[in-house]
Symmetry: C2
Subunit: 233 residues, 2 copies
Amino acid sequence: MNSLDVCLSPELMHLFDVRSKTVVVADILRATSCMVTAFAHGVKSIKPYADLESCRNSKTPDIYIAGERNGEKVEGFDLGNSPFEYMAPELYGKIIHMTTTNGTQAIERSKESARVFIGAFLNLSALAAAVQQENRDVLIVCAGWKGKVNLEDTLFAGALAHLLKSHFNFACDAPLLAEALYLQSKNDLTEAVSHASHARRLNRLNIFKDISFCLTADQYAVVPYLENGILRV
Amino acid sequence: MNSLDVCLSPELMHLFDVRSKTVVVADILRATSCMVTAFAHGVKSIKPYADLESCRNSKTPDIYIAGERNGEKVEGFDLGNSPFEYMAPELYGKIIHMTTTNGTQAIERSKESARVFIGAFLNLSALAAAVQQENRDVLIVCAGWKGKVNLEDTLFAGALAHLLKSHFNFACDAPLLAEALYLQSKNDLTEAVSHASHARRLNRLNIFKDISFCLTADQYAVVPYLENGILRV
């Protein structure tokens, strides 16, 4: 039986050998939720950038650039970090270059792995099926907040671990811990996350509609994956 | 109001500025539980060593050396890592030099802080009182297992955070997460930890008696602290 592990912060990535693993990257609020939403609405590809200026400089008339730092859209970028922006009809068939505080950094650190999937509550069941088909050890990487562990990504890791537990061995305590936390909160994830630091930090930005949407399971069946540095479905 | 935060692994210590903080180091299975037990039974001081050979070479007729790696006593050392060893009457008034896989490494990384306390379930209430008296921001450092997050240290962090929450603000999501996990399991910590990796890893070493003891709250009122590299009470 393959193993499943959870890396609760990108700062712990060096403890895991990802080369033969399927890695699922999750930045629930809100980078990977935006990515999944974008692909579900017909976006052709997303190129993640860890660095803000490289992303900004990649702008051409055919490319939409998306930039978020500290929870806010960066000035001069076409798109920010609300999933609702990624439902716009004009994005159909288009290319996005994206940089975010945590999510795109976590993708950067995962790219040595055999396969990188983009995970969110929004594509949870489709993702679980895709992970099983890959038939390798799995590492769920929580993007966290500037290196620190956060609640919403841990809850997601727990939800995915719970879905996959009959097919994988839990490799250490992190999946156990994440699953326990998820099972405790699953009937009202929004309530649980409303106490978390992300919600408190961004209160003034009126993101509760975003949070509620990002915690909704199985809105979409797309499973973005990384290929030569570019996300596709 | 001062803040309380939890560092779930020593590998995340660089994200926290500990210089003006009270740090509580916990390695529940079993280094800090052994330390608390030792002081409760009259040990005079404990000098933690991050390095095995330095600890071994510090042996003199007056000094007991304690060495554990990967859950087992190291050959040639006087003491291992079971709290019951530290109840021996002959240790009364004696000096111990100790090195362990995780706990003494976590102490090493905490020593820049304003105050280092040694925490365990065994001294939980006395520790909470001591932390409050210090009147500074608090960081609970979980020793984990070789850099990875573990269940028992997270549960301890949650128990202490829960005791202190009316006096401190939670600084980020880690205390929230640890507290939720503790509240879920507090009526049967031994059952919760029996599924954890430490218990599974050391099953063959018959440590269930140790685990059950190490998860018992308030056996002792001693609160060891670090002073010039040496633990005292």
